[in-house]
Amino acid sequence: MAVWQMIPARAAPEQPQGWLAWLRRELFGGWLNALTTLALLAWGLSALPGLADWTLWQAVWRPDAEACQAARGSGACWGVIAEKQRLILFGRYPEAEHWRPLLASLLLLALVVASGLRRCWKRWLLPAWGLVWALFFALMGGGFAGLEAVPTERWGGLPLTLMLATLSILLACPLAVLLALGRRSRLPAIRVLCACYVELVRGVPLISVLFMASFLFPLFLPAGTTPDVLLRVLLGIALFAAAYLAETVRAGLQSVPNGQVDAAASIGLGWWQSQRLVVLPQALGAVVPGLMNSFISIFKDSSLITIVSLYELTGSLGLALSGDPVWRPYMIEGYCFITAIYFVVCAAMSRYSRWVERQQARALTR
């Protein structure tokens, strides 16, 4: 039999700290590791100077077609962006009125960002959305108070992309929730209907839906009642997105334990009440990353409407450059520009979704 003495806790022996140690461990710990690092570095060093030359050192920054022509092949011509930025960003919107789409997009962006912040989750948010949409359409459409009327066929570029993405998300969400609830309904007919809708829509490509919205839809309606093509495309995207969102929402619904529904019933809540107050908030919270991924897809997919001749961001780049022999050769720089825009927005969304996840974990547990 033995009894040991009390041993006080002490700190671990000093491990080498700091970035140098990190580098040593991460990049040169073990010979295979070191070899990989060297190979990657060699590759990087061989590729980088050329790339840097092209993007930076040899690049032409002024909208100077002749300088660009001279630098062609060795350096990028960022001047093309300077020259064409307005056309790329705003499409065929009348040039004198460009402040309107700019203002409208900024308003919309600000509102979207505000809606993402917990601090702003106040009562005024809902009316704010109504107000901003009203302002957006008023600004874009004009036709009052001295603002020149601009028909929707001339809307284009970034505002169009933003509007289509946000509006179709807004429209798709409630539909998705209904579909998801429907797929779990006790009523077999409704269940089957919702399941069929979701599976059918998920089985076809978006562009076939867009074709349908833009070519066929008018045939389905009584003669003369054809809504604006923008509206039809918007509906098409929303109906399509709803099917995908519905699956995400359904996964969330499944993650809510049955006990929650029982508990809600036991305090007297009816079916709709318990879904609205108890199940959905938890279900949607549980699938924020999934929802955000779907939102990102919708935003990216908005680029497909160029295929049905609407000039959103991707389309307006084509519009801006492909008809202009002087600047057409610098398409790749144009693509870099819009790629950067798409990337920033999508990356911001996925960052945000990770942030929300962390917030939730922190807020609800100890």
Partner: protein, 318 residues
């Protein structure tokens, strides 16, 4: 008819145009539509509504155009569309008049030294999808055993871009299109050669929906009226003056001075005078948009009046 009523009611005509063929219908830097097809549309608007600007322009890709017309999204399709039997008979469309006589041709980079389309054996050819060009190309290739390889793009500008990037050894579409593309989109027009062969007949003209003969008649006679106006020397500049003092019975009839042709069409007396006042006669429209003084630079050629040895032969307005 019904179409005319709805148009009058909403006080605007919806006209389908192409998404961008310089000289025919293209947006200028201000986003305004200009071109021959556009002017014809304007003439119709002026004749019907009294104002050439009461138009909603609907740019359409080639796959969209027929359904857009069929479904009522546009009232007139004025979009360099070839009139063919299939289109006229089976697709719910009706042609009104021929506004431009064209034919399909080839363009090649001058450096290839190709002088005739028959030398294109085995070449890759850029073409836009959903056009008569695709079929003509296939026929031409088969007849001459050329084994041409089409690369088909869904949009006109995509096909242009691919040709100028060097993806294809030749580019085929209507010669007017080739000329306008070469003029406006080639860096140096001299580097590209339009080959002499015309491999098809391409009568282009505005189309309307089937089933409304009154509306068809209006569009048909506006086009004929513009041609007739040229034949009779009525121009944008002199129309008012002629209307006031011309003693020529034909002019008087055309401008509604002596006879009310408008009533027969369901319009007022001045319909043609307004149209001419808005866009000029056919010759003026042609010269302004695609004529030799414009970048597109097309000689009148077949599009001269019959009196000058061309094909434009306006049906008599009486």
């Amino acid at each position: 008819g019904k179409t005319l009523d709805t148009i009058k009611q909403r006080d605007q005509i919806a006209i389908g145009v192409s998404t961008g063929v310089p000289g025919f219908s293209a947006a200028d830097s201000q986003g305004r539509w200009t071109g021959l097809d556009v002017d014809i549309g304007k003439a119709v608007a002026a004749a019907v509504l009294g104002d050439a600007n009461k138009v909603k322009w609907v740019p359409l890709a080639s796959q969209q155009r027929f359904t857009a017309l069929q479904s009522g999204e546009v009232d007139v399709l004025s979009r360099n569309t070839t009139v063919t039997l299939t289109r006229d008979a089976s697709m719910g469309l009706a042609y009104t008049a021929i506004a431009f006589y064209d034919g399909q041709g080839f363009m090649v980079p001058a450096k290839t030294k190709v002088k005739s389309a028959k030398q294109l054996k085995g070449a890759t050819v850029c073409v836009q999808s959903g056009t008569t060009s695709e079929k003509n190309l296939a026929d031409f290739s088969r007849i001459n055993k050329l084994n041409l390889k089409p690369v088909v793009f869904d949009k006109f500008d995509a096909a242009n871009a691919a040709y100028f990037a060097g993806r294809c050894q030749a580019y085929t579409t209507d010669t007017s299109g080739l000329a306008s593309v070469r003029a406006k989109e080639a860096k140096d027009p001299k580097e590209h050669l339009i080959l002499p062969e015309l491999i098809s007949k391409e009568p282009l003209g505005p189309l309307v929906r089937r089933g409304d003969d009154e509306w068809l008649a209006i569009v048909r006679w506006v086009v004929n009226g513009l041609i007739e106006a040229e034949e009779n020397g009525i121009t944008q500049a002199n129309v008012d003056q002629l209307k006031a003092d011309s003693a020529d019975p034909v002019v008087g009839r055309l401008l509604g001075k002596t006879e009310d042709t408008g009533k027969l069409l369901g319009l007022d007396r001045d319909w043609l005078a307004r149209a001419i006042k808005a866009v000029g006669n056919y010759g003026e429209i042609y010269e302004r948009n695609v004529g030799e003084k414009t970048p597109v630079g097309l000689a009148r050629g077949k599009n001269r009046l019959w009196t000058d040895g061309g094909l434009h032969y306006a049906l008599p307005l009486r």
